[in-house]
């Protein structure tokens, strides 16, 4: 039986996910919808949808495509491929239909875990970019209508700093932990469930975890150690349920911090310097490019055949949007953060920079 859900992100991106996989798979290997749980919507008219994702049981490439590397089936505006990550395997097909994209995915059981992170997130970003918005891989907080973003790669402490500020004194509101939408100088929150692992768990979050989730987290840590890092599963916590009073709203972008962690043993664990907008755009773009592992590769393949198509020029558009959407009034900072130093001390220093204006 098909399970269908509609999603609406701030009336900017609207989409539908249809899950046609069988009941047992759905129960055992989880739903695809949870990642966007905060953007559930009533039925949306077909013509208003930006894209439709269908989890199918069987898909195959359409006939008479170009075939690259024996596995990418490409035609103008069309792409099909089969791919895998560890034990997860999938087939994916992207078909543009009038003004919307249709994405068909046939995952094996394990691949269900990755559908949102590998594909749907990127498609949301793609649609946002197409509509002139920017999306920054960062966490964010707001205070008195001003927004502060912390851009970083995994392990940079961007989630921790966001949570640290929200749980500290001073009326900070949470804007999101993974992606923040920016348009003409304003930020829109984008709240998805936090991915918790033991290293980014602070007392404030622990307080908000129920007993079952705590136990699951312990179990996952053991599994991680047993498989020597091969099986890494996060525990989800939805900020909207855990601390609903602390969720921020649309705010004016004030400061962007780019965090680079460092494994030095030296004592000056924290260096902060002002950087230009041009430099910041480079950091943010590279961050984004590293973030989605698969679809950008498919796009590069596509670019071998149709180099001037919208799809192939995605990163160019992304960079141009950033230049437009980040006004010259925004201040940009680069932070070198030593991993061996007292991280909370460093966070307090960042807080001082935010509040010294």
């Amino acid at each position: 039986m098909t399970e269908t859900r509609y999603f609406n992100i701030h009336n900017i991106v609207k989409f539908r996910i249809e899950d046609n996989s069988n009941f047992i798979n759905r129960k055992m290997f989880g739903g695809i919808f949870e990642e966007y749980i905060n953007y559930f919507s009533d039925e949306i008219r077909e013509e208003d949808l930006d894209f439709i994702v269908t989890i199918s049981r069987k898909i195959k490439p359409k006939p008479s495509c170009y075939i690259l590397d024996d596995k990418y089936y490409i035609d103008r505006g069309y792409l099909y491929t089969e791919d895998s990550y560890k034990l997860a395997k999938w087939r994916i097909e992207i078909i543009p239909n009038e003004d919307k994209y249709m994405i068909n995915i046939e995952p094996n059981n394990l691949a269900r875990f990755f559908i949102s992170g590998f594909f749907i997130d990127f498609i949301i970003q793609y649609i946002l970019t197409k509509k002139g918005y920017s999306i920054l891989h960062s966490s964010g907080v707001s205070k008195n209508g001003l927004a502060y973003l912390f851009s970083g790669r995994g392990g940079s402490g961007k989630t921790s700093i966001g949570i640290h500020l929200v749980s500290s004194e001073g009326e900070y509101k949470f804007l999101g932990d993974d992606f923040i939408i920016v348009h003409r100088g304003y930020t829109h929150p984008y709240i998805t469930p936090l991915n918790l692992f033991t290293y980014n768990l602070n007392p404030f979050l622990l307080k908000n975890l129920n007993r079952k989730k705590r136990a699951m987290m312990f179990f996952k840590k053991v599994l991680y150690s047993l498989t020597r890092g091969y099986a890494k599963f996060f525990t989800k916590l939805n900020p909207r349920e855990a601390f609903p009073e602390k969720i921020g709203s649309k705010s004016k972008l004030s400061k962007v911090f780019i965090i680079l962690p460092r494994n030095t043993k030296s004592d000056d664990g924290f260096t902060l310097k002002s950087i230009s907008k041009t430099e910041a755009v480079e950091y943010v773009t590279h961050n984004q490019m590293m973030d989605s592992p698969y679809l950008p590769v498919y796009i590069t393949q596509y670019g071998f055949l149709f180099p001037t198509d919208e799809l192939a020029r995605y990163w160019e558009t992304y960079r141009n949007n950033l230049v437009q959407n980040l006004p010259d009034t925004v201040r940009f900072y680069l932070i070198y953060l030593s991993l061996s130093s007292d991280i909370n001390k460093s966070f307090d220093k960042i807080k001082m920079v935010i509040e010294n204006e």
């Binding site: 006939p63 008479s64 495509c65 170009y66 075939i67 690259l68 590397d69 024996d70 596995k71 990418y72 089936y73 791919d83 895998s84 990550y85 560890k86 790669r153 995994g154 392990g155 091969y230 680079l260 962690p261 460092r262 494994n263 030095t264 043993k265 030296s266 430099e279 480079e282 950091y283 590279h286 961050n287 490019m289 590293m290 592992p293 698969y294 590769v297 590069t300 393949q301 670019g303 071998f304 055949l305 180099p307 001037t308 192939a312 070198y336 991993l339």
Partner: protein, 353 residues
């Protein structure tokens, strides 16, 4: 390599059954090199990754230096690169593949994953670009068929050699210098020699053929004979961008403009840096390493690499006739005949048949 770049491989692996496959760049092997540009050391090592920036919990990066532990499918490795961006490069690599490859070709992974792409970075510094595709030569003129994988490159190469009118520049890589100078870049050259000398067509039919092939490529050869089959220097005459199309029986061809061709060639090279060459080990990794390095040092040489490549290709290919070709799904010998017709008005059909 054509006196442009010198590299040295030091390995601790003892078994070496399929030498030419294990060292797939053996075409460029010499007795000795002084002051190599790249040194690849294969074996256990202690990383010097203190004081690095850490990206994604896993990439250790500091000025001109890269280290990471990585895994994909059946393979696991640890790599350290000094001189990633400039100067002499030194690679430490320690890795394993779970499977037959570990026994037969223990050093292949290190070379394909790290050495080959690093050579491409260093070549561009010296003004040479690498094209992914097939190159054949006739009377000093070079014809390049740039393509992604699975576009009949190797079969076309072998049939072109067998017809006796062409020599091979490379069946997967071609080196392009200033003024349209084309230099040979054969991979697995003994394998190509064997196929050219001993097989009548590309179908390796019997078990005996396979044994013969294994014997041939694991024995020592005289490098003198190679110039019958390989063309070291030639001049680029025409370039084609090739793709295979399903449900398609003809060959179609049209002119394309310089800008599009250049972007397409760059995309192809980017894809090459994500492939490992070992089956079931799909999405890897050098491109990610470059990205991680650019993320920390956006102003670096590596950050400017793709832009430089684009510029360099554009300089070289300006005013050159560039075509796009669609090839049928199934390979037949007539493809070569038709291709030949398409650029030199035929004349070799009879000799092939």
């Amino acid at each position: 390599m054509h006196d442009i770049i010198k590299f040295k491989i030091i390995t601790d692996s003892k078994v070496n059954l399929l030498k030419d496959i294990n060292f797939f760049l053996s075409y460029f092997e010499t007795d000795n090199v002084s002051s190599p540009d790249i040194i690849l050391k294969i074996g256990k090592f202690e990383p010097s990754n203190e004081g690095c920036f850490l990206v994604d919990h896993k990439y250790y990066i500091k000025d001109n230096y890269f280290y990471c532990k990585d895994q994909e499918g059946r393979a696991k490795w640890e790599v350290e690169i000094f001189g990633f961006e400039e100067g002499q490069a030194m690679i430490n690599f320690h890795g394993r593949v779970l499977g037959l490859e570990q026994v037969l070709i223990p050093d292949y992974l290190a070379q394909n994953l790290i050495l080959r792409p690093l050579i491409e970075l260093k070549l561009l510094e010296r003004g040479y670009t690498v094209i992914h595709g097939l190159g054949i030569e006739k009377k000093g003129d070079a014809y390049i068929f740039a393509a992604r994988g699975g576009a009949h490159k190797t079969r076309l190469a072998m049939d072109a050699i067998r017809c006796g009118k062409y020599r091979l520049i490379g069946d997967d890589r071609i080196l392009l210098g200033k003024d349209r100078q084309v230099l040979s870049y054969p991979l697995f050259y003994n394998l190509v020699m064997f196929r050219a000398e001993r097989l009548r067509d590309e179908h390796i039919s019997s078990f005996l053929d396979k044994v013969k092939m294994a014997r041939y490529i694991s024995s020592r050869h005289n490098r003198k004979n190679t110039n019958k089959i390989f063309a070291d220097r030639s001049k680029l005459k025409k370039m084609f961008l090739v793709a295979r199309k399903e449900g398609y029986d003809n060959i179609s061809q049209r002119r394309i403009n310089l800008d599009d061709a250049v972007i397409r060639l760059v995309r192809s090279n980017q894809m090459e840096m994500t492939s490992s060459g070992i089956s079931s080990l799909g999405f890897v990794h050098f491109l990610k390493y470059m990205l991680a390095y650019c993320y920390v040092f956006p102003e670096s040489e590596i950050g400017g690499y793709w832009g430089d490549l684009r510029y360099s290709l554009k300089e070289t290919l300006i005013d050159l006739p560039l075509y796009e070709i669609e090839l049928p799904y199934k390979y037949t010998q007539s493809i070569l005949i038709n291709l030949a017709n398409s650029y030199d008005g035929g004349g070799i059909i009879n000799e092939i048949i």
